[in-house]
Amino acid sequence: MIQPPVDPNIEHRLNEKLPLRDDTHFASGKIAAFQYTTVAIFLFLISGFWRLQVLNPQIYDERAMQNSIKSVPILAPRGRVLDRDGRVIVDNHLSFTLWLARENLKEAHLKPIADGLDLDYDDLYARVQKAKGQPKYVPLKIKADLTPADLSFIDSHRDFFPEMEVIQRKSRLYPQNGMLAHVIGYTGEISEQELDLPEFAKYKSGDVIGKFGIEREYNSTLMGVDGQRQVIVDNRGQVREVLAEKPFVPGKDLQLTIDLDLQAVAELAMEGKNGAVVALDPNTGEVLAMVSRPAFDPNKFAERVKSKDWKELLDNPDHPLMNKAIQAQQAPGSTFKPFVALAGLESGSIDDQYNVHCAGGVSLYGHYYHCWLKGGHGNVALHAGIVHSCDSYFYTIGNKMGIDNIAYYADLAGFGHASGIDLPQEKDGIVPSPQWKLRNYREKWWAGETPSVAIGQGALTVTPLQLARGIGGLAIGGVWHHPHLLKALDQTDKPAEWSLNPDNVKDVVDGMYGVVNEWGTGVAAQLPGIEVCGKTGSAQLASNDYVKGAGAGHAKDLRDNAWFEGFAPRNHPEIVVVALFEHGVHGQYAAPIVRDVIKAYFDKKARRTLLEQQQTSMSAKLPSLGNSLTPAPPATPAPAVSDYDLVEKSKIQSDVPEGLPPLPKPLPEAKTPAPPIPGPGPAPKKPAAKN
């Protein structure tokens, strides 16, 4: 048996640690594993790009386009509103609004921004916190109507606070001091409720629409159509390139029938009073002036009204938001008597000689009806009845003709239903009749109610506009044109006509002439050289049972309303004016308001006639002058002079009382830079003349 050779040092060698060979072979397998892992990692990465770039790149392509290509609306400017002479009443002006882009908003910037823009920091901070619930890309509106100081602050700090964004838009510029506020109305951002109305169906959230007055009535004419611009924007929304543009269609200008001169006079006459004034041309239905007091400042509504201001307006007991010319429904008092007189004559119940004895009142149905004059008027026929506004006379003839006749002719003259003026929310008023009472109260008419209606009390209510239209139509012989504010409506107006007996009309008109000119109740409306006719009214609030019930519990001012209705001249009247002076106590206090407006009308007419004569004589002289100065200019007629020019050049404007807002001048369009205005220095050198 052969023993295997044994290393004699085996014990020693086993105990000794093997010297480790310092080479890299031991790790070659692991390095290979690392290499495989590297291959796997690169394949993994490439697979990711394969998925994104090869499998469905079009999805990402679309999203890249959505990122950068945006449709930006180009807001169409709203049409202007002009008066009958073409003077601008409502214009647009550029306004700037500051927004904060919340994507890159730093809260540390809020304090310096608030300081720089004179804002309350705590308020701003609270608004930023509150907006946190919304998506980040929705910017936050910080300040509207930036002042030049604000703009220069923003401009110089844009690099420090890149989150500030200025948006430019056109907003409405309305006359100051609430002039014409109720007629023009105001605009505002469309509300959720309005979006549901069929009237506003074509608009979208964020649009600024007319909310009241003319702005609302003719919203679609004034609004125009927004254009669109396809632009490439960067991640901050900055426009880098314009791809395509669809221009906007500007809103159309509206010319109203309003005469700013008369309006200014009427506004001034109502200064410090509550109530309304309406001036119409009875021959066309054109509204020449319309005032409602107290007024509001529509400039505060230009974009979004502050809730504080809004609450103030709503809580005001004098209803500044109400257009009293078309919405105040009040008892007309004695101003209704001419219609009762006409009804009596037309229905044949009385003639102009019919005589009533007034002993300070009359007794009917066991009830004593008082005349306003305690001592009585004695024997009164139609003319004296109107001139002295004898209640006893009208109690008697009203009772004689009956409620049905009164109601019939009142309806004919336009009472009890809206006139259809082109303003929203016109009120109907009430003409009481047996049918009306049955329908609304399920009660029979009591004959004792008729005398009250005959003196313009009882349940009878009218609006100032209805009264103006009614008396104007009567005065021109039974043609009641529809009152309107849009000049272009003149052609489409179809009046309500009724063949009245001219003698009857003359009787009533002569009575109203007497009121003013024969020591009647309206002497305050007298004007030298102008045959003003009119009728006062002092309408009780307290005697009206229906009002009493409605007003219970309120500490209401119960002094009588003062009315005056007037027109001129006596034959072929051109203007009719109605004034409602709330709580004015007696109609004679409303008469000067009407007088002032009528005077302004005839003064202006006189001046215009004079000016036209001057113009024609001037233009007759001009060609001969021109001939001597220039070599053979074509013998052109003098340039047509528009009403607007006339008014501008004449001194009529100096008549306009102080406090009338300066007429806003049209601003240049945003896109066309204003032409350079030559400075006071030497005129820029013109190229040398050819010679």
Binding site: L20, D22, D23, T24, F26, A27, S28, K30, I31, A33, F34, Q35, T38, V39, I41, F42, F44, L45, I46, G48, F49, W50, L52, Q53, V54, N56, P57, I59, Y60, D61, R63, A64, M65, N67, S68, E103, P135, K136, Y137, I232, V233, D234, N235, R236, R240
Partner: protein
């Protein structure tokens, strides 16, 4: 001792890296065209030249000398990282940078600490003189690496901290850590992860959430991820062309010259460009691994593999992030992203590899 020869420099590796650098400069030029930071492209060229000089300098220092000084380098690194807390925070509101007085240059310390980590791991594992890494030794090494890693994580810079871990993990793997321990560590890590999530800063949490479902918050944390994917996807197979990338030009893509440079590249050069560029990176990694294989001794092998692990983790985290394969972590793409610190530290890393290669026959 053999004289060091220029012929022994790894010209293939250097060429590949310079091509990547050139592509980076072109992409930076395109991405910053018309912006305030348009000077970035020529600054980047200066950085690259600076990097080449640094690489040259480090080739001259024997890596054994460097390994000898690891304790000193390690302690200075930790001190420098702590320094970023004091100087960095006070001066810039950020803790990553330390200014070099008089130059106006701010160095990102953590970028250079990477190199120290590589040397540390190499020396530690070499001195163990074993083919099978003991778990206790592994944990000690891990402790040494985790101190700077934790400091970097706190800066906060999760991405860079992860690259330190990658160097450690690859080193431990090569040193022969028993797979059982690897399994145990993996399980423990999985258990610790949810707890770690609790302690994550809010922005990291939201980044993680937006990685899992970016559409949940399209304007917040998911924004960068979505915009990056849109940029890459809209590039398509062939790309939109240089300077034609809308996502890049219109700044929807965040930092298109730095962390998201590869998304900008992918948008403008398309899938074809991506494959070419990733292939170059692949060749780069493989050349470094080859240098590891030919190293004359273990320490050199560990150094090269450390550099490979470092660069691979950078590429995985950055490219994976822009493609939506990884959560968003701010980390530069080696040799492409604009920035001096990143370029210099990566060229120094290449210098380490070259150093090992030059001395492969010395023994």
């Amino acid at each position: 001792m053999r004289r060091l020869s220029l012929r022994d420099i790894d010209w293939t590796l250097l060429l590949v890296v310079l091509i990547i650098c050139a592509a980076g400069v072109v992409q930076i030029y395109s991405a910053t065209l018309g912006t305030d930071s348009h000077s970035a492209w020529w600054k980047q060229i200066l950085y690259i030249f600076g990097g080449l000089i640094l690489m040259w300098v480090i080739l001259a220092v024997d890596y054994h000398t460097m390994l000898h000084h690891v304790p000193l380098l390690y302690i200075s690194s930790v001190v420098a990282l702590l320094g970023t807390y004091l100087i960095g925070q006070a001066a810039f509101g950020s803790r990553r940078w330390i200014p070099i007085p008089g130059t106006g240059i701010h160095l990102q310390v953590s970028e250079f600490v990477k190199l120290v980590i590589i040397l540390l791991v190499a020396r530690y594992l070499t001195e163990l003189k074993t083919d099978e890494l003991d778990i206790r030794e592994a944990l000690k090494l891990a402790g040494l690496v985790l101190i700077p890693a934790a400091l970097v994580l706190k800066q906060p810079d999760l991405g860079t901290a992860l690259t330190y871990i990658a160097v450690l993990v690859v080193g431990a793997f090569l040193a022969g850590l028993n797979w059982k321990y690897v399994a145990v560590i993996a399980v423990v890590a999985l258990l610790v992860l949810p707890i770690g999530y609790q302690f994550m800063p809010e922005y990291q949490k939201s980044r993680l959430v937006s990685f899992i479902s970016p559409e949940q918050d399209p304007q917040g944390a998911g924004y960068q991820l979505i915009q990056s994917q849109i940029a890459i996807g809209s590039g398509g197979p062939l790309g939109k062309g240089l300077t034609k990338g809308t996502q890049t030009k219109l700044r929807f893509l965040p930092v298109p010259s730095k962390d998201f440079v590869f998304a900008a590249f992918a948008e403008e050069q398309g899938f074809v460009g991506v494959v070419v560029m990733l292939s170059l990176y692949f060749v780069m990694i493989m050349r470094i691994v080859q240098n590891a294989q030919t190293a004359s001794e273990r320490s050199g092998m560990y150094i090269c593999m450390g550099v490979a692990a470092l660069l691979l983790s950078h590429i995985l985290i950055n490219v994976g992030m822009v493609a939506g394969l990884m959560p968003v972590t701010g980390i530069p793409l080696p040799f492409m992203s604009a920035g001096g610190s990143s370029i210099w530290s990566n060229f120094l890393a290449l210098g380490l590899v070259g150093n090992v290669r030059l001395r492969r026959f010395v023994n």
